[in-house]
Subunit: 470 residues, 2 copies
């Protein structure tokens, strides 16, 4: 998300700011799921509570002065957090996170799944990325340890594996079935790892998918759970897009609930002794409809792990003392929003539904536009914040890219940037079937921007195809 | 900071909260430099700006409503941050940190040292701990790579080295000269590393010292710079206590300014080509007088490193996308506080001076009390937030500890906890000369608490000595 293209985009932005001419008036960053950068408004209730927590002196002001500025339930929530968190947002917390917020997360999980969540299994983290790194660091002992990752994948996984000296073992998703997952593909990847002398220790699944936008069916999820329990490997479920479901009639199903229904985990047990599956599920405040990327807040729930693994993870977390308190609060506010009858409830629902409905419209609009372009085919995003179209590039474009020393899709994306100011990420950054080319774009340009983005992409694409099909 | 003793302390706290009897009414956490947990108030100006940044809707309210709640310069600062940071605190920033805040850090360094700081050399991080880990991860290739660390050390260093698979190579500080540093000790440690076949790649120095409270003289600092340049090893300067100087007539001197005066670095140069020394200096919002531990904010300044090292660190930072924005803001507010003439200036100065004067009083009081105890000798803290007394334990106590399977100082600290509710960390957690025993206590109990802490420690110590000297 942060490579050559972004550096070039930043250079364009600097040039524009200093008055230089470009074929576009601004850079539109569709390379990264960063909603507020593109104008998404934060949720009012959460931000009111955060403001009060940051300057608790406000809570001592006369009620009359405060009532025009803060909702009564925001004031009440801030007071209850202040009472429960010694030192408030200014003090280190327990390395695993503040107890009262871990309790809120556990309740949220219980309500979501119908299976019990436990605060002792929850680690609050600076977003999902450090949580993933924490888990991988405890899984990887040396370069013979391998972790199965989807292809295409979110590059956090390959980068973290490289950092901790482990090996990735990629299983391909099936584009034609909206990035579905077959047992055959899992088995092939596993066998290849074993044949190379690797110890396959865990399997990463991203659902809803990044960069693909695909949502797994319940049968696919069951297959994954069985695959892991049969081989005794841990399941790392990246479920950060759980609120971002666009497919008609779909709802998010967590791996925890699927595994619990199958009897692969015992949700009541906290010793890890009664579960065949070891499951880590990641969530974040950065996605969903909060889009609070700058907070760096999130959590991992560990199920079926013995106490010594949790102790090891606690030790890892304690090297950095604790995750940031404002991010911890953002997590509490995400999982425990205003309830019916609360002063902020209606505003919260209206903000939430407004953002989700708009994202859904944009996802559909973008996929439709992409599919209308020559040589472009895009699986409609069933979830998450991205479209991941396949582009069939003319041989002359592939040759020109080769001459420029670039992957063909990177070449395409750089040209798109130079022509339109729109920043997207080439498929080669995620991994893709040999000989295919893709790019990932977020669905996040605002309703005001998205038509222009689509038009710009379409015109560029036509010109590009014409240039290289001659 | 987070081991057996803290777990036991938390259990005591839970027991007290549920009405159980203990010989004390509350737990006092002197195991960790966490000022706001022990009642230190946050700085008003910074918190006002943070509150406004968290809920920018406030900036659109009528001035009359806001003027009783927020200082005019806090409002102005928030507006200028909002204008400069796309998406505010809700969006990912550049992985290296927000440009405007890196500019503020660079200006601060320039003013502090009289040698130029460069924003391109500054990485904003989630506190100093992740910055240290980032640097160590780029230094360590395999277990043959070693890093020199002081003994006693802050255990972040040994833990991070273990995490990235490198080796520590400890050099002892000299307790009798207030934890001074001799070339002989450095050479001995270096030679021992080389004799074991290690590649010594960097040297860590903590100044002011943690856990020791010692401040290095300028001559000692020059020796370190020469030691590193002569051997071509990087210098990692942990300078997070730079505002916490208690020794009469002392002022903080940065390694950057010492190295620049010596000509070991060229502060104007950003290519790294003109510097004999590679220097990483760490700073944090958690210490000083802000004490904003829960923010997780800080930075590392890199001097004398080539561009490809910075690119590597950028890549590392980008795995977690960016450090949290509120922590980044806290860093900006630390390095760029209200100036003379600003509405908040007098309040800021009074808060700052009040906190520092009180910490200084408490440091002196604690050291005096410790030195008055039988068999206890404490170097007076010249800086930082700790006292690190040596305790001479009766042979019977050492034997009893051995029987309990504990280090003798850990045994002492556990007994202190059980008797008084005061949590301190045994010297064995930091490293100490064989056969000596220490503990580290913060100087942070409030002015209201500290007399009781001292009295409790004194009574416990007398009883403990009596019990085991019989």
């Amino acid at each position: 998300m942060r490579g050559e293209i972004v550096i070039k985009a930043d250079a364009h932005a600097t040039a524009l700011a200093s008055g230089e001419e470009r074929p576009f008036s601004k850079i539109i960053y569709c390379n990264i799921g960063n909603p507020q950068q593109l104008g998404q408004k934060p949720l009012s209730f959460a931000r009111q509570v955060e403001a009060l927590m940051n300057y608790p002196a406000l809570l001592e002001k006369p009620e009359a002065e405060m009532s025009g500025l803060f909702a009564s339930d925001a004031i009440a929530r801030a007071k209850s957090y202040i009472a429960a968190i010694p030192g408030g947002v200014g003090a280190y917390s327990n390395s695993q996170g503040v107890q009262v917020i871990r309790d809120e997360v556990a309740d949220f999980i219980t309500k979501r799944d119908g299976f019990k969540g436990h605060a002792s299994n929850v680690f609050l983290t600076d977003g999902a990325s450090p949580a993933v790194q924490m888990c991988l660091s405890s899984i990887i002992r040396d370069e013979k340890d391998a972790v199965m990752i989807p292809l295409p994948q979110y590059p956090l996984y390959s980068a973290a594996l490289a950092l901790f000296g482990g090996s990735p073992c990629g299983y391909y998703l099936t584009e034609s079935t909206n990035w579905g997952l077959t047992l055959d593909s899992l088995q092939k990847a596993y066998d290849a790892g074993v044949a190379e002398g690797k110890n396959v220790r865990a399997l990463v699944v991203i659902n809803p998918g990044n960069p693909t936008g695909g949502c797994l069916s319940k049968d696919e999820m069951k297959n994954i759970v069985n695959f892991c329990t049969e081989r005794g490997i841990a399941l790392m479920a990246d479920e950060v897009y759980q609120e971002n479901i666009w497919a008609e009639g779909s709802a998010f199903t967590s791996f925890k609930s699927v595994a619990a229904e199958m009897g692969a985990i015992d949700a009541e047990d906290t010793t890890g002794d009664k579960s065949a599956l070891q499951l880590a599920s990641f969530h974040s405040v950065s996605k969903g409809f909060a889009g609070e990327c700058g907070r760096r807040g999130g959590y991992v729930e560990l199920v079926g792990f013995p106490a010594d693994v949790r102790a090891q993870l606690y030790k890892f977390a304690s090297i950095s003392l604790c995750s940031n308190l404002v991010g911890q609060l953002a997590t509490g506010l995400m999982v425990n929003p205003p309830q019916e009858g609360d002063a902020s409830y209606e505003q919260y629902i209206s903000e939430r539904d407004g953002i989700l409905a708009s994202l859904k419209r944009r996802a559909a609009k973008l996929a439709e536009a992409l599919n209308s372009m020559e040589g472009v085919s895009c699986q409609p995003p069933q979830g998450a914040l991205y479209a991941f179209p396949q582009i069939t590039l003319p041989p002359a474009a592939v040759a020109a890219a080769e001459e420029a020393g670039k992957a063909a899709d990177a070449f395409y994306c750089l040209r798109l940037l130079d022509a339109t100011g729109v920043v997207v990420v080439p498929g080669s950054g995620f991994g893709q079937e040999e000989g295919t080319f893709h790019f990932r774009t977020t669905i996040l340009p605002s309703e005001e921007q998205i038509d222009a983005v689509i038009e710009g992409m379409g015109t560029f694409h036509k010109d590009f195809m014409a240039e290289f099909s001659g």
